[in-house]
């Protein structure tokens, strides 16, 4: 069981700022993303909004393997700063 942080439009659509995920070990980032895409609260928004996953506060590739205690977060397109 891992917890995945949610932000911005994802947080709003899911109605919460984190989500618990059940994964078979050994699991990868790609497995986690696939499970999230089937999740009731996120399926609809993830069909529209592209995301990347951060593991321990670094952007991670799909083949990155997950370990007990990793900090996972789902990152939608960023729009920080100003002066678009």
């Amino acid at each position: 069981m891992v917890s995945v942080k949610l932000f911005a439009v994802l947080r709003e659509r899911a109605g919460r700022d984190a989500l618990a995920l059940d994964l078979d070990e050994p699991a990868t980032v790609g497995d986690a993303l696939a499970a999230l895409a089937r999740h009731d609260g996120l399926a609809e928004v993830l069909a529209r909004v592209p995301v990347v996953m951060a593991v321990n506060r670094d952007y991670a590739d799909d083949d990155r393997s997950l370990h007990e205690g990793d900090e996972l977060a789902l990152i939608p397109p960023v729009s920080g700063g100003s002066a678009r």
Binding site: P50, A54, Y59, I75, V78, S79, G80, S82
Partner: protein, 145 residues
Amino acid sequence: MSGGSSQVHVRVTDEPLSLEALSRAVGRPGAGAIVCFEGTTRDVERLEYEAYGEMARERIAAILHSCVERHGLEAAAAEHRVGGVPLGEASVIVAVSAAHRAEAFAGAREAIDAIKAQAPIWKREVEGASGEWVVGSLPTRPEPA
């Protein structure tokens, strides 16, 4: 040029940002040029920023260290505001110092470009009671060191 952490200052805060303080933070006896960038809310009542705070801080610090290294800066600092930022106020300030102005301009430009491309920060345009998330781009990865 040691790349030591005293050359870099980062803060993510819900308080108003101070340009003067950031400029002072990069002042050094060997610095003849300081370039500051402020990103300000324009053409809308207010912007609301949300950050993945711990990761934003780490990413921004890594970006500033890389800019110090690549451009031979004396120091670099960045602060990003979260929460509501009214029209005319700054959501992000970057300040860098260098011996000469060419490096200072190049370093400041690279820093703000990378912060906007890589930092996990989102914004929403708010007019009255309605808000809209600004559609951005998926974050780019930092270049391999």
